[in-house]
Symmetry: C2
Subunit: 133 residues, 2 copies
């Protein structure tokens, strides 16, 4: 995913641990939400990774806080009908963040990086945050 949005934009970080319950209900809900969110004003994109133990991070990107609020209001009624959603997650955390700085780098950078998301092939910050267990 490329982000060509002007800074600052917003990120909603969703960290979670999936339960093993109701896999088909979960997938159905996700597919439906994906279709809906793509049409939503102010939606920039989404990135998601989940490991084989059910632990995952999903980040959705938004133009501003108003867009995040509108999406929540848009889906509230629909989600309320999907009873028992808590069962899909053992645990989750939501963090709403203002993205103040962004840049990218690496040995094979995709082309469509805008001026707003600075490209930098040799930056320290990148490595510094590539901490993994």
């Amino acid at each position: 995913m490329h982000i060509t949005e002007q800074l600052p934009y917003y990120a909603v970080i969703f960290t979670s641990n999936r339960t093993i319950d109701d896999e088909s209900g979960y997938r159905r809900m996700n597919q439906r939400l994906e279709t809906m969110v793509a049409k939503q004003p102010g939606f920039i994109g989404v990135e998601t990774v989940r490991d084989d133990k059910g632990y995952g991070i999903t980040i959705s990107y938004w133009k501003d806080k108003k867009s995040i609020r509108a999406w929540r209001e848009h889906t509230e009624h629909w989600i309320a009908q999907e009873k028992g959603k808590a069962k899909w997650y053992e645990w989750y955390r939501v963090q709403v963040c203002k993205v103040e700085r962004a840049y990218s780098g690496g040995s094979n950078i995709p082309v469509a990086v805008s001026d707003d998301v600075k490209s930098n092939g040799d930056t320290d910050q990148g490595l510094v945050n590539g901490l993994e267990g």
Copy 2:
């Protein structure tokens, strides 16, 4: 990981695609950085997920921007000596964010969630951002 930090705190989102090169060099660098970062003033914690294709999201949390800057300056010299770091990543993006709102929920919420990170067992925002492919 529990976050008990007062809002607002900071998140550094590191999204990347690993190359398959130099696995041992990469692991050595990561272990070294993990030890170093844990002692760093203002460091709150780190969350990381990588899938089997090499795509990953790592988020480090910090008390303030000053702490992020200090960590970068602290590691700059050391990292400069580790030549060719760009080879570890095909591509990466770094986003520095101010976390303005945080809450958690689910059917099995861990205990040590502070008052600052609001707990909410039945929230719409959670589901809304659980979008997965």
